[in-house]
């Protein structure tokens, strides 16, 4: 990891500059630049194919950019690290499709996510950690899954799975959370509860939320970045960007 660690170059938590990615000639990202300050919550919107998920892939080490810089915490070069190393640095990710461990109980899902040594050896010989147990209990309450702790995650409703996955992110306790479309397929009541949950999380974590649902973004009430064709189109408060004629054109078509 040492080769990827630099002296502190920026005070930003996440610093993306001129990131480009192409797949078989298709340019998914073209010179994307984005800066996130510590403690900030940011919503990212944009039409399908704008490159939102690819951006998350770059940040989490799943995809290597063709060019550009990606720095985390001002000194870690994300383009040189793999998924597990980046996760260990403190970047957590929630997928668009809820990805929980369906054959594990709700509790075990949180146990696997909880911040603890990740080595094979620790897994074989480790004793139960009381602090981890407390964290899990606390998160079960926060995510309203206390009654379901022994159930298999596969048997939860769609909304509960989304919350469980957010709960897993909390258990992981990363510095930065990347949340991809957390309210897709949720009822209005669930959407509202999710917004509340995310705002609570944002109190002590930095969060990036990718979302299509404008009502939900409005409810979050945070700075918005609009992406289009692999780059940033506009940035600012929601009212401000939605008044931008270029944004209107992208969303309403020409």
């Amino acid at each position: 990891m040492s080769e990827a660690e630099n002296p502190i170059l920026t005070s930003s938590l996440l610093y993306l500059d001129g990131i480009s990615v192409s797949f078989d000639g298709y340019k998914a990202l073209r010179g994307l630049s984005l800066v996130l300050e510590p403690g900030e919550m940011r919503a990212i919107i944009g039409p399908n194919g704008a490159g939102k998920t690819t951006m998350m892939d770059v940040i989490t080490g799943k995809t290597r950019p063709d060019e550009g810089d990606a720095l985390f915490d001002g000194r870690y070069d994300l383009t040189k690290l793999d998924e597990a190393e980046i996760a260990t640095l403190g970047i957590g990710r929630k997928f668009q499709k809820p990805t929980v461990f369906e054959n594990h109980s709700v509790e075990d899902n949180l146990l696997l996510a909880a911040k603890a040594p990740r080595s094979v050896f620790a897994g074989l010989l480790g004793r139960e950690d009381l602090k981890v147990r407390e964290t899990i209990d606390r998160i079960l309450v926060t995510t309203r899954l206390k009654e379901h702790r022994a159930r298999l995650a596969g048997s939860l409703s769609h909304g509960q799975k989304q919350w469980l996955e957010i709960g897993m992110l909390l258990a992981q306790d990363p510095k930065l959370l990347l949340v991809d479309e957390p309210v897709a397929g949720m009822t209005d009541a669930e959407t509202e509860a999710t917004a509340e949950l995310l705002r609570a999380i944002a109190c002590d974590h930095s969060v990036v939320v990718v979302e299509h649902d404008m009502g939900f973004v409005r409810e979050l009430g945070v700075k918005v970045t609009v992406m289009h064709e692999g780059a940033v189109l506009a940035e600012g408060a929601l009212d401000q960007v939605s008044a931008d004629p270029r944004v209107v054109e992208v969303y309403l078509g020409r």
């Binding site: 996760a87 997928f95 080595s119 094979v120």
Partner: protein, 374 residues
């Protein structure tokens, strides 16, 4: 399901422990005309089934719990068998046809003058036993290290494990490779001083196999019951999710793969003195596929089911290859199709389903690197 499985596991261990005591008792302490007498050939046959059961438990550890469908576990089994066979060859000493005190008969026949380096030390039992675990273990370590780091998964991994065992199959056929060529190693006389022909040795080998199966089961059970085991199953179900949680997925797979290969090697080492021969046919790709069928039939991801599947299918094989030899392979193929279609959790799953009302979430037959969210 786990409480139920624990009870079945306990019963399984109890039955095996009882068999380890009762079978030798009935084989040795009763007269041949008694209704309770177990003839030596049957003791040997049952011992062979138990070795297959150990191989099945080993395979289930990686397939059922980690989604690695290895179709090359026969190679680890055979390597353990060869290590034992080499020890048994050296024990023959001057009693061979050519009466050479050092060189096994096939080497004298090939006109070799000195013992190849690979054979050194195999006259010493502890060294041979070390090789039984070390050779399959190191092979699995090297193979797994390359395969899992390169993120080879699913059918691709299954295919390269087949290629691996096929490569060994070809290599061991060659006379100048130094392991007896197509005849393999045979004509064994004794094991740590006990004649392999005696009924008492056969009974002892049966008991040793039963105890080894108990230990293999308990070890595998402890592994899958630990937090490591939970993580292993999570890797099986959502590999990239585990990566994003910060787990070094390749190390998790590698550990299970190596443990599994070592167990398979031990099974092979117990198998060889009971059947009296080891030759390259043990590396045949079909053998490894058959082992996967045992696990599927018994119930993938249950350990006990895998062992039961191995014993049941081999019992059927013994019976049908005697009664209807030309139909056995069709029967085996048909059985595999039926189990895959109608009993995804195998025979044990069928038994458990009767009493369970909890929804059973289907696990993928082989873990395939899923595209996360695309």
């Amino acid at each position: 399901m786990s409480v139920e499985l624990d009870r079945i596991g306990l019963a399984f261990v109890a039955v095996l422990a009882a068999a380890a005591l009762v079978v030798p008792g009935l084989a040795l302490a009763t007269r041949p005309e008694s209704a309770f007498h177990i003839p030596p050939y049957l003791v040997q046959l049952l011992g062979k089934y138990l070795c297959y059961a150990i191989l099945a438990v080993a395979l289930d550890l990686v397939w059922g719990y980690c989604g690695i469908l290895s179709l090359g576990h026969g190679a680890f089994f055979a390597l353990g068998g060869y290590a034992m066979g080499m020890y048994l060859m050296r024990q023959i000493g001057a009693r061979g046809v050519y009466a050479n005190p050092i060189l096994p008969d096939f080497m004298v026949f090939l006109n070799w003058k000195a013992l190849p380096v690979a054979w050194w030390g195999f006259n010493w039992f502890p060294y041979a036993m070390l090789m039984v675990v070390l050779v399959p273990g190191l092979l699995a370590l090297a193979f797994g290290w390359f395969a899992f780091r390169s993120r080879v998964t699913g059918v691709y991994l299954s295919i390269i494990t087949q290629a691996m065992t096929f490569a060994f199959y070809k290599e061991f056929f060659r006379n100048d490779f130094g392991f007896g060529g197509n005849n393999g190693l045979t004509d064994f006389k004794d094991l740590v001083g006990f004649s392999l022909q005696s009924a008492a040795t056969k009974a002892a080998l049966f008991s040793a196999s039963a105890i080894a199966l108990i230990l293999a089961y308990l070890a595998a059970r402890a592994i899958v019951g630990s937090k490591y085991g939970k993580a292993l199953m999570a890797v099986r179900d959502a590999e990239s999710r585990m990566r994003f949680l910060g787990y070094r997925v390749e190390n998790y797979k590698l550990f299970a793969f190596v443990v599994s290969a070592v167990l398979a090697g031990v099974a092979g080492a117990l198998y060889v003195p009971q059947v009296g021969i080891i030759n390259p046919s043990e590396f045949a790709p079909a053998n490894s596929i058959e082992a996967a069928i045992w696990v599927a039939v018994g119930g993938r991801g249950t350990l006990v089911g895998a062992a039961i599947g191995a014993i049941a299918v081999n019992f059927a094989k013994t019976y049908f290859t005697g009664a209807l030899p030309e139909y056995w392979l069709y029967g085996l193929g048909g059985l595999f199709v039926l189990v895959t279609l109608f009993l995804p959790k195998g025979l044990l799953g069928l038994a458990l389903r009767e009493r369970e009302t909890k929804p059973v979430v289907d696990t993928p037959a082989i873990a395939i690197e899923e595209g996360a969210d695309r």
